[in-house]
Each structure stands twice: as structure tokens, then as C-alpha cells.
Symmetry: C2
Subunit: 277 residues, 2 copies
DNA sequence: CTAATAGTGTCTATTAGACAGTATGTT
DNA sequence: AACATACTGTCTAATAGACACTATTAG
């Protein structure tokens, strides 16, 4: 390999056709919270986080599950547009909340050729789109357990198959928040095990200082439902009065009520846009 | 489409040129905090944040300042390795703290061809490497002013030139933290105006819940110096007792002192690794 | 002595956590 | 009436903000 003494020298040598180029993909971690049916008519349905996976029907990684994703057309679209195009074909939905997560670029993450993937988190309210999913796509409920030796176990369940991912986290230089992730069993195709974990952690963090949860909520919701969504994302119980204090400025009461639940009805709320200053 | 019996067979047949390809670069926002000389011998030197820029001496954007960066060699290196290689040629330093910031992929961000850039934040203690900089590179002190109409003005000063960037922020869907950024005057080459702002905001956020500042500190430092660095990053004054409460678990007292400052000497501290659980 | 920063004690205000209580629908 | 959740009041603990005070060096 020729070595360059400066960036300028490197660039001077540059010729589009001379230098190797590469392919890029956009991969999407589509996250939602689903209701688990309850046997007791009185009880509220329990919530679980779930993500959408697609079964690969061709090589490489034939028959493995992976995140929806597709190759970027560099002439025509941005990565986010690419992600939206893929989501459209998978879920038939537009106007989904999308946020860039991380760019994965391991040298051998794709056995075909060098492929760099920019991953996106997408958030939806699953209950408002159940019937529009591509038949090859499937929702998996998530159970995430953090072992104390920095190993994270993630179980994915679609009621037919159970996938068990196991990922090792190693702390990096002077950060307290940056880890190297390594999948111990590579259950999903490519490096998608890592994208799943990174996405869930990002969501967990951002829930506390942003309003992104509301992208996973229907237009009208009860505070109980909202609290359950927070609880399932944060993976811990919250106390009612504290929760209501925290979200009281983010929602507005409506004059609608949710009734017929076998217990006291509750007021339906809407998301309230923050005043911008 | 032909079907394959194994991944090996598939890969043998696979043609890389089947998909459109593109070029990638890694661009680095190298941030440090510098001492501003004081006329009064008694006073401590004031601190300013500064970033490293390089003057382009070729087209496109000839004679404009830009972030150090370079094209990825897709056969041989990851984006982070590419960033480290570029940093090595610019600052002659290895072992710098690097963190992926964002992937920029506007269709026309580079007039030559489609180029997607993954940007990195790099943090250093500038005072321990002043003499090893590439002569074409130059440190610029930063002054950042947030106007109330979501316009951010950034002044970059290298004691010879003054650059004045102006960027408009527009809030996106249900987030409270995600903005679209648009440069109003494109002072730096490519879309580097935006990378600068995004990097500074990221640093400001992460300072509160991570230990990244210590990547910008010398091995031994006084709490006064550390506080000044926090203050210049957060762009506000902190109260001494509160600051000391917050960082007391992150540092260890040494038996060294800093003397000869025209006032009471202060104890030198070191960074203390957190216990991992 | 003086200027300037180093460093600490303590009061107050704000926020988070905990618990117990009341309210109100469905069956 | 009983169940289950909705919703609120209030005490306590923990944390953040503010201010005032003492300490210590070079010149």
C-alpha cells in the first residue's frame, strides 16, 4: 500500500474510477410495543417490546433472520430515503419516525464484498398496522437480561421460534458509556445482533430526555398505557405519582374516556408539542 | 434467479459490480481546550475550546477550510482505522480518543461524485502536542452563540482569520432533541459547518453523563483546571462546591501540588477509573 | 499587606422515591 | 360487593443551587 504524507497528497492522487468503491446498505431496527393478551378480563393487557425481523431467502445467511434493509442506490437516494423505501416495502407504512443509529463497517461483515451499513431506529405503534406487514416479515417479542459480567442475553419470540442472542460488552477508554460489543453466538444474519442491542440501549437512554415514546403511541392514550410503555422500555416498574409528575407537561387531557375495561375508566390524553425556546 | 445449494457456491458466482457502488470518507472533528494567555500574572489562564481545521489546496472547495479527513480504502481498513490514519498524518498522534458522530450522505455534498462521510469526534489535550501539527493544519478557537430563534452562530479564530458560521436548527418530529441543521453561509468546505455544530452539541451533552472530558486533560490536573474545561464545554459558570461534589468520585488526589501561580497552590488530581458494575 | 484562586461548611430549594389513601367503572 | 385500575395527597430522602467563610501562596 502506498503511504501518503498528507491528506492533500492523498486527494491529489484520487480518481473516482481508480479507487475502489464500496456498497452501502441501510438497515432498520423497527421497534414497537405490543399488547400481550391477558386471561383475566379485568386486567389490563401486559406490554412487551417487539422488533420486526425478515427471514433471508437467499445467500448469504440463507434462512437466517435479519433486520429489514437494502442496498443504497447512490445515484438517487440518501440513506434515510433508502431506509424509508425499505420500510415501505416491508410494512407498507410511510411517515415513520426514523433516527440514524450507527454505521457498521467491519471488513468482513458481508461475505460478498465490502458493505458498510448505516442502521436506523424506526418507531411505530404496532397496533395500528398489524395487517399490512410483508408476509416474510415477522414481529418478535423481546426479553432482555443483563448479566452482571457484562453479558447481555436477548430472547426473541415470534410464538413459533425462539432466538437467543448473547452479547459481550467491553468498556472502552474514559467514557462510562462506550462499549465494544461482540456477539457470542451470531444468531441473526450479518452483525445484526449488535444493531439490535445498540438500538435498544439507545431507546432506553433517549426515553428519559426526549419525547420519542410518543412515536410508539396511538393518538389517544391513557396515562396507564403510556406508563406501561415507559416501563417496558426502561425495564423497571415506575411509581404512579412520580411518573405523572414527570410527563404532566408533555400531554394534554382530552374529554374522551376509555371505558369497558372491567374497572374504573381512565381519561384519554394526547401528546402536547413543547413550546420551542 | 438461480438458486444455490450453499453459501460457498453462491459467493463463487457473486459479482461485485452488480450493485452500484460509491466512495466513503472519514472526517474528524478534533476538539481540544486551549489556554489563552493572561496579562495579569496572578490570574489563571482563560480556556477556550478549539478545533483543528485544514486548508484545502485543491479543488473542490480550493482555499476553504475543512475538517481533516480522507477517503476510505475499502479493501484494507475500517472507517475508524481510516480516521486514525488521517489523524496520524495531521497531528502525528496515535491513541487518540475517537467516537463516531454521524454519517452524512447528502446527494450533492461532494461535487465530484457521490461521497458518504462518516464523521468522528476526536478529543485531545492540545497543550501536550502543539509542535507536532502538520503545517497546513491550524487550531481555531471557538465562540458559540445560540440566538433565540434557533440560529447558532459560531466564530472560529486562528489569530489571523476569523470565520463566522451561521446555522439554522429546525426541530423534527416528537423528539425535543433532534434538529435538522442547515448552514446559512457554508463557510467550511462540504457540509463541515454542520459537523462542527453537531460535534460540539454532542460533546456538551455527553460531558454530563460520561467521563470523556478526561481525554482532554493532562495526566495531572487541578480541580480548577478541570472545572474550567467543563465550563467552557457547557458554556456556563459552575459553582465550586457543586462541581466538587459531582466529580469527587471520578478523580483521586495525588501528593503533587501546582505552585508558582501568584496565589494559593492547588492539589493535583488524576482520573480515577470507575469500578465496573 | 494584597490580589487571586483553593477549598469547605451549611443552609435552602428543588426533585425523586415511597406509601397510603380515595375514586369509580364492570361483572 | 369485589376486583382492578385510576388518580391524588403527603411525607421523606436525595440532590442541586447558593452563599459565605477560611486558607494559602507570590509578589
Amino acid at each position: 500500500m502506498k503511504t501518503y504524507k498528507s491528506e492533500e497528497e492523498f486527494l491529489k492522487d484520487y480518481d473516482v474510477t481508480m479507487f475502489d468503491q464500496l456498497s452501502m446498505t441501510a438497515d432498520i431496527l423497527l421497534i414497537s410495543v405490543s399488547d400481550q393478551e391477558q386471561n383475566n378480563y379485568r386486567k389490563n393487557s401486559k406490554k412487551m417490546m417487539s422488533i420486526l425481523l425478515v427471514k433471508r431467502d437467499d445467500y448469504p445467511y440463507k434462512d437466517k433472520w435479519c433486520l429489514p434493509g437494502g442496498f443504497l442506490n447512490p445515484k438517487k437516494e440518501t440513506l434515510e430515503e433508502c431506509a424509508r423505501r425499505v420500510l415501505k416495502t416491508e410494512t407498507n407504512l410511510s411517515n415513520i419516525y426514523l433516527e440514524q443509529l450507527y454505521t457498521y463497517d467491519g471488513l468482513n461483515r458481508d461475505p460478498r464484498t465490502r458493505v458498510v451499513s448505516t442502521s436506523y431506529i424506526a418507531l411505530v405503534d404496532k397496533n395500528s398496522l398489524t395487517d399490512m406487514i410483508n408476509p416474510k416479515a415477522c414481529w418478535f417479542d423481546i426479553t432482555l437480561i443483563e448479566e452482571k459480567d457484562n453479558i447481555v442475553n436477548i430472547t426473541l419470540d415470534n410464538n413459533i421460534e425462539l432466538l437467543h442472542l448473547s452479547i459481550k460488552k467491553t468498556l472502552r477508554e474514559k467514557t462510562t458509556d462506550r462499549y465494544s460489543f461482540k456477539s457470542l453466538n451470531n444468531v441473526l444474519a450479518f452483525d445484526h445482533d449488535l444493531i439490535v442491542l445498540a438500538g435498544l440501549e439507545r431507546l432506553k437512554n433517549k426515553v428519559n430526555y426526549t419525547d420519542i415514546v410518543f412515536n410508539m403511541m396511538p393518538e389517544y392514550f391513557t396515562l396507564g398505557q403510556l406508563q406501561q410503555v415507559y416501563e417496558v422500555i426502561l425495564n423497571k416498574k415506575l411509581l404512579d405519582p412520580a411518573f405523572r409528575r414527570i410527563i404532566k407537561d408533555k400531554v394534554v387531557k382530552t374529554n374522551k374516556m376509555k371505558t369497558g375495561e372491567g374497572h374504573r375508566p381512565s381519561v384519554l390524553f394526547k401528546y402536547k408539542e413543547p413550546n420551542n425556546n
